[in-house]
Symmetry: C2
Subunit: 197 residues, 2 copies
């Protein structure tokens, strides 16, 4: 049996609630899963073909708007089983890559005034994203409630995590912005010598 990449499973995930076209998946990769998993168009179409060959999905084709046929993909029984088996598997530890945290590690090499602006801009970006998530969360809640049995519960739960963890991050950015102000003041008024090691 052909091994399926994580990208492949991600596509099976998007199909778990019903059939979609490749283009639908492209759009789903933005909200609300998009914040936790992304894939480009150029990855999605070839991967759908691979999943099809592996017998995990199947499709119906109709005449499409462009020069090609429009294909609606759905999970096969084998696909649903493969997905269910993968879901309960402990995730392989992935390398997280967070540019803002990396930059903070090398904070000592930055200009405090400009770095303060950096942190304030980041705080705003995350605040906007949080507001967006809050709106989506409220909408899902009002439409379906928070019943575990509802098929939308998974999407709702991902938003719960965002709502619980974004405020900590925003507060962290604001704290660093304040520290940068402090550092600027300390450096502009050279009264005390810097602390010895």
């Amino acid at each position: 049996m052909a091994t399926v990449s994580t990208l492949g499973y991600a596509l099976l995930c998007t199909l778990h609630r019903g059939p979609l076209t490749g283009y639908d998946i492209v759009r789903r990769m933005r909200k609300p899963i998009g914040y936790y998993w992304t894939a480009q168009q150029s990855q999605i179409y070839p991967e759908l073909a691979r999943l099809s060959t592996a017998g995990l999905i199947e499709h119906e084709a109709e005449a499409g708007p462009g020069p090609r046929q429009r294909k609606t993909h759905r999970l096969t029984d084998a696909g649903r089983e493969a997905l269910a088996a993968w879901l309960v598997e402990p995730p392989a530890p992935r390398a997280p890559r967070d540019e803002a945290v990396l930059k903070t590690y090398a904070l000592a090499a930055a200009d405090p005034v400009r770095m303060r602006r950096f942190y304030l801009a980041e705080a705003e970006t995350y605040q906007r994203r949080l507001d967006d998530f809050r709106a989506q969360h409220a909408e899902l809640l009002s439409r379906h409630g928070d019943d575990v049995r509802h098929p939308q519960f998974g999407a709702y739960a991902t938003l719960e995590l965002a709502l619980a963890s974004f405020p900590a991050r925003i507060a962290w950015y604001r704290w660093l912005a304040e520290k940068m102000t402090e550092l600027g003041n300390l450096r502009n008024t050279p009264t005390d010598p810097p602390t010895p090691d």
Copy 2:
């Protein structure tokens, strides 16, 4: 001027506090930056060569333990300037990839009993990591305090974020584990006896 990849800047970041060998960087890519940025050995050595060609780092070579020379790399003035300029630049929005959240999105396709075990295992993994970070945080704090002016402040700040955001994640996993128990009961699936928590 040759463009530097994010990996290149990550290496400049590791060198911002003083000279290191490639092997030192390999180890630094674990704690404490490691949780927020990772690179493999096979990426690091070629990238160091590229940075050297670009004039952003330089090295001294001595006889090494193996068949090759041991090289100690340091930032050049140009390297320090390039780093300082990059630090204040707004980060390019990166695609976050979080397998556990992706799986949660497709929760409806999973077996609740096994999924509950999955969430409990994840909660434990994160709890252990949090304990580790707490220890590192306490050590840095006792050794250098939380003075912004101290060169270690950047490393300390990255740990602050971990300490502030991990508990939310652990609570999220526990909440989902509970929801899975609830779902199992609702579905009348006779399973394990209730575990003592």
